[in-house]
Assembly symmetry: C2
Homo-oligomer: 533 residues x 2
DNA sequence: TAATGGGTGCACT
DNA sequence: AAGTGCACCCATT
């Protein structure tokens, strides 16, 4: 999965070492003489991946280092590791509370509980999509069988449409941010004893930004499913989500019901930017267990048993999973009695995340906008999406209250409310999670040169979001206009409070925008956010 | 895929560096002081994969080494290449002549012509399997849509079953010879205009040995297909092929009819070992064309057209491709008038390849036997395969004539007949095929230290085959017996003729065998090959 | 279906 | 030699 990246790592580390050797050539001389082989190894210009594999795997790094002969088809000892997640700390989350868990438990297993009593394997994905689309995570099935479904997230950076002709430059393609490298996984396994599906978020981290994309194929299929399920409530909620996304308004995940039966009221609207990058994830080290008595693998026909079970019992595989059921996954009556449920009590003091707007900060300090927002962009036009049969008039939604509310409550975050939440039910694994950043009790910007606003758990208020939104709304061309941040900062100054240094960008920061968008931003701000002035 | 291994490499290299630092601590002292950052970096015990990713992707390794911040996305330019095969030299082959073409045209596109008028996409694979199973190529579909099917070969080296318990050593797995790396491809594309399927062998080379494996899943499915098709002729032929394979007898590809309508009589039985490694393949270098006028990609909806065509016309997709048809792909009446057909005339002087027995020679001079031949091994037992309903009694087959014939005719190869064949219809592209080895006019063994008997086009006779067969028939355990080659050579001396040096193995050559197999070999030889004495 | 990890055929996009 | 969603597999502990 990650081999290109790791390959890069290896060669980069190699050249690090190499440069290190050269830079301190005199001093290193004797060292190199004492380690001729290693040095030679690092001096040879291109080490092929396979050659490097051979080098690294040649023995247990005893005393002598030897250069492997080429063309050797060495049998590389390679051991699959199993049960690597057994050592991970478990956390539990209700589906409604998943956004908190995703933020906090980045190196834990997050058990989703409760889950509906799925009648069919195909019902799991839409149910999860209801939860994870608002989190900006577009899930697809990576692998499945009769008793297991592994979901991964379908990250963006896909095939680009070449709009311009005579394109001398090749279409750039991010080499390390495709979905294959993203470690995020959700595992659903069916327990025949309990006759229920267990759902666990396995690797809660991402190699890419999180952004709800209403144009994705998966989302379209998901909407079709909702229509076929006559789940009008969810349809309505997702229309709101969609609209907010196109306006880059803050997204409140709680607007989507999870159908888990626990519709705990969400009372706090504090806004938190979720981390968009892998930040706290520490994969559990794979332990080498010495040979213990091996059980004979008599479980070979387990899948067959499971199939038989499915045939004889409730689960019936449908050939068209997206159009099968009027059985919308739902309602408390479907639930199995589960005494293991750990809930967060009454759900008070939840800190809900919202999604970062459509942008990505790159190392070279360019802000790359996400591709193409369609022409539904303008909020007050009648140019709504082509989805017919919708029951809600989106123009009737009033976002002002939400903004006021979040703007107000975000101050509670700074006042320390954030740390008073009680959703961490198990012990914190901070001992093993060296990279984990605790939730901030005060906002803390501008002290991170390269990261800009990502990579940290950050509490912001609506003005920040609007500011980001402005930056993010370019349409993907290469024009680079220098915008006047001061205007925006002045406009939003009443909302900045004590957060003055927030938008002191790097000197050489460049970001993209276009005129239409700028105009729209200004007028939109003027029309809708008088309270900021 | 390989990230665990590369991960290992990285940490191994890290600890190499680390140990290096410690072992030469005094000298390194200053170096480390001058590179505090790097050293610290390497000193921290567990570098998480993501952290390593971040480290490696930090810029272009200029002069200063700095610790990069996380979350940097580097954009790597990567260009898809299209029409890479346009520059390849085309050759044409009838299906019956494919074995020649595969041997000779290793860096050409081999157009198969004629092909039947397939009623359904699903008919293509079985038809190709009839051709390529006898070549030792187990094809699977890599990708398909309504107008295209890409086949690749499913190479061996799969998941091994662990026979022994308490296996301290991990299951070894060849790291570079899996099917993903084998370049061999067959492309079938449907032409709407001609209303026919065109089939082209695209990359005629392999990264592995070619060996017909009757135990493969694909072959079992293929046999099921044949049964459902009531194609008794083919069933019979493949039973013979299967039996020969298990006895490691030479396989004559012509025994399988191709149903192309051209049943040209095969008259020559010269035996040639096909190359088992990538030897003559030169992949066409992907050319960078400077910006030329790009044609607008208006072919986006071609697939839709094809689908519509398929719906309106003959092609109907069946949901169960292996059990659909009594329409066995067959017979001249199915053919479309095709004026482009290039044939080989009367098919005289064809040099037919046979497959190497079940072995693989590795660089370390160990002969690794192919996995597990089942208990059908003994030729004279009634312990035939569990496939019922077969119409032939395999025990009635007399192999002696075949051996005599091939033994006799193999001398024609040495006499120069081999080069007199006329099947190369297009101009030879020897200018661009630097690695292509012309067909040998005399046999030539023992001058290849490492490759032993692979990587070259070689003509052998039956005694060689028997000898190889003996070596190959171990059953995969790790015992290494030293066998007495002299006995075999004496036994077969009358067949060796002028080929004396053939079995002078390398000194440190070790090969595997077991007692049962040795006994079987001896008795089998004694009973059936009196003519050799 | 105990839990967990992975390979890969192949059709959809 | 499209990339990938997904399912049918199998592996180890
Ligand atoms: Zn992800
Ligand atoms: Zn191959």
């Amino acid at each position: 999965m990650d081999n290109y990246q790791l390959d890069q790592d290896l060669s980069d580390l190699t050249s690090l070492f190499h440069n290190n050797n050269r830079a301190t050539n005199d001093i290193k001389k004797e060292v190199m003489d004492g380690n001729t082989i290693l040095s030679n190894l690092l001096m040879t210009p291109p080490i092929s991946p396979s050659a490097k594999r051979d080098i690294a795997s040649s023995g247990e790094q005893e005393e002598k280092l030897r250069i492997p002969s080429s063309n050797v088809k060495t049998m590389v000892k390679k051991k699959k590791t199993y049960n690597t997640n057994k050592n991970k700390v478990k956390s539990y989350s209700t589906p409604n509370n998943i956004s908190n868990a995703l933020l906090k438990d980045q190196n834990k297993l997050i058990h989703l509980d409760p889950v509906p009593n799925f009648k069919d394997k195909s019902e799991i994905k839409p149910w999860l999509q209801k939860i994870f689309f608002p989190q900006g995570i577009d899930i697809v099935i990576e692998r499945s069988d009769s008793g297991k479904v592994i979901f991964k997230c379908k990250s963006p950076a896909k095939r680009r449409n070449n709009a311009s002709i005579h394109q001398e430059q090749e279409s750039t393609k991010p080499s390390s941010s495709n979905s294959a490298t993203c470690p995020f996984r959700i595992r659903a396994t069916f327990s025949i004893k309990l006759k229920k599906w267990n759902i666990v978020v396995v690797n809660n981290s991402h190699s890419h930004d999180l952004k709800f994309n209403p144009n994705s194929d998966e989302y379209k299929k998901f909407k079709d499913y909702l229509k076929n399920s006559d789940d009008f409530d969810t349809i309505k909620k997702f229309e709101e989500l969609e609209y907010r996304s196109k306006l880059n308004l803050p997204i409140n995940p709680s607007i989507i019901p999870c159908d888990c039966g626990l519709t705990s009221e969400i009372q706090s609207f504090n806004i938190i930017l979720p981390t968009s990058k892998v930040c706290g994830a520490i994969k559990v080290q794979k332990e080498k267990k010495n040979a213990r008595s091996m059980v004979s693998s008599q479980t070979a026909n387990k899948n067959n048993k499971l199939k038989k079970f499915n045939e004889q019992n409730i689960l019936k595989k449908s050939t068209q999973p997206l159009s099968t059921s009027n059985t919308s996954p739902s309602l408390g009556s479907d639930f199995i009695d589960n005494t293991n449920i750990l809930t967060t009590g009454n759900g008070d003091d939840f800190v809900l995340p919202i999604l970062t707007p459509d942008y990505a900060v790159h190392k070279n300090n360019k802000i790359n906008p996400a591709p193409l927002l369609d022409n539904n962009l303008l909020p007050l036009s009648n140019n709504t999406n082509s989805n017919d049969n919708m029951t809600t008039d989106l123009l009737e939604i009033d976002f002002t209250d939400i903004f006021n509310q979040s703007n107000t409550l975000s101050k509670n975050v700074r006042a320390g409310h954030y740390n008073s939440n009680k959703y961490n039910l198990l012990e914190d694994s901070s001992a093993s999670s060296l990279l984990f950043l605790p939730a901030p009790t005060s906002l803390d910007f501008g002290n991170d040169d390269d990261l800009l606003m990502s990579s940290k758990l950050q509490s912001v208020d609506v003005s920040t979001l609007l500011n980001q939104r402005r930056v993010s709304h370019s349409n993907g061309d290469n024009d680079e206009l220098s915008n006047n941040l001061d205007d925006i900062n002045n406009l939003l100054s009443t909302g900045l409070d004590d957060l003055d240094k927030r938008w002191e960008f790097h000197d050489n920061l460049q970001y993209k925008n276009d005129d239409m968008e700028s105009n729209f931003t200004s007028s939109f701000l003027n029309e809708n956010f008088d309270f900021l002035k």
